[in-house]
Symmetry: C2
Subunit: 294 residues, 2 copies
């Protein structure tokens, strides 16, 4: 490994396609970095799995990525971070970061009222992972969990329309900013926006939610900041690569590769290209049998 | 409070004068920010106090600073951060940050070998505060504590020479980079530099130690990065003020004020000016009776 300039890819792991919001943020902010993305779509969603199952999936994907010579692994999934980050850091031969700590720190650093909302799936809210991460760093910040049971489904249903989406994203329109979605998002956020609570910062604690950022901003109004764990994880990654002198060289044209356990590569490609913001040129299938060997 | 531009001072608290390395770093990086510094020199060192005593000292100073209209409080002392950060965050009406989390995070983000040394007073090493902070964020990083029993005394003895120092700092020489200090620093660092350990990053876990940075760098050699908690705390503070839109306005000439419980203002002024890198123009005495009222 050279002292300066490390052109090995960044490994990004998610239970499915939501983590592509993190991959997109990385590709945008660090245009010379190559990404190797693994989406365990076949076993998605992880929310219904046991903690020990999720842990073993994270380790399998991590070992697979490490065997493909990545320089760092990002667990781009809140459920997988909550369950598997610590063991992945202990067991894997590569450094590993998750999406929770960067989002938590950014929320603390953003709030003036010292009241933060965490918008996440009901499971993530229930595990209290963000609350712990925030209060470990600042015991003076109050955390208000806001479970959003319908958001992942809203996103996934829209993404399932496939070809329709491809056209829409070429026009750069926001397919998610519809009156129906605005209404549903406003209804979901209602409880934490009650007068008297005083939240001024909301963390998007699910990698799907940046796709709903416009309806979310609309519901929150101008006085409330939105912290995206995807963007904050990219900032943390950038700080790490700069400090370790491991940024890719300036003249590198990055190569992004995508691997999925899904049997339907076309579906992964359509939804994935939409989220990633550019066509997924190189997609491969990984069988669960192959992952089981790791 | 205006939406943009908050010219209130930053409160900086230390048990004595060591925290002036943090204040200096803030004054250098954020040239429009005013600082209100409290050094509890009369009750220094905190290392020999009980945890509950230190906690109550932190709260007293914090309430005093909050009553003087600061916008944020920095606990610029490792002992006081370890013992009092959490309760200060919970009890004080202003936001509070310490020096340990920023240094821990920077060390994690800097290490490639995933082995970090923590150079601190024997007490700070013994409390394991850095080890916990580092391993909470990255369970894959090994932490090697390096107690330095003589460093604070080396610094304080040199600072006690007073007038001599004033001349020396005007010449911008490093009064601490002497052959004797190089030898003592190398002896102290010896155990964590044994071949086979593989540390590539060392955190300065005491606010006095940035004054010894040249002998420390000399002993560590080129392959080992030095992380200064003072500088990293300033980076964290900057991120906070930017995100909260609480930076002072660009046209503000900052006013730095210093308060000490020491009965010897002249001594505080001499040593303090040296560490702060410019004359302490406004120094006031706070009696312990006054602090006791907070």
């Amino acid at each position: 490994m050279a002292a300066q300039g490390d052109n090995r890819p960044i490994g990004v792991f998610d239970s499915g396609i939501g983590g592509l919001t993190v991959a997109r943020s990385i590709a945008t902010s660090l245009p010379h970095e190559s990404i190797y993305y693994v989406g365990d779509t076949k076993r998605c969603p992880y929310g219904v799995r046991s903690e020990s199952e999720v842990r073993s999936f994270v380790l399998q994907a991590g070992r697979w990525l490490a065997a493909h010579d990545i320089k760092i692994m990002i667990i781009a999934c809140n459920t997988a971070t909550a369950a598997g980050l610590k063991i992945a850091q202990q067991m894997l031969p590569v450094p590993v970061i998750g999406v929770i700590a960067p989002g938590a720190r950014a929320a603390i650093n953003s709030t003036r009222t010292r009241k933060v909302g965490v918008l996440a799936t009901p499971l993530t809210v229930r595990t209290g992972a963000y609350t712990r991460a925030i209060r470990d760093l600042d015991a003076g910040v109050s955390v208000y969990g806001c479970p959003a049971p319908s958001f992942v489904e809203i996103v996934e249903n829209e993404l399932a329309t496939g070809a329709h989406l491809q056209e829409r994203w070429l026009q750069d329109g926001d397919v998610f900013d519809t009156p129906e979605n605005r209404e549903e998002v406003a209804r979901t956020l209602g409880p934490i926006l009650e007068p008297g609570i005083g939240i001024d910062t909301v963390v998007l604690g699910c990698t799907h939610f940046p796709l709903l950022v416009n309806p979310i901003r609309h519901a929150l109004g101008e006085g409330v900041r939105v912290v995206s764990s995807a963007e904050e994880t990219t900032r943390e990654l950038t700080d790490i690569l700069v400090r370790r002198e491991q940024l890719a060289e300036d003249d590198v044209v990055p190569e992004h590769r995508f691997a999925t356990t899904s049997d339907n590569i076309a579906e992964f490609a359509a939804a994935g290209s939409f989220i990633f913001g550019q066509p997924l040129k190189s997609i491969e299938h990984i069988s669960l049998d192959e992952l089981d060997r790791y």
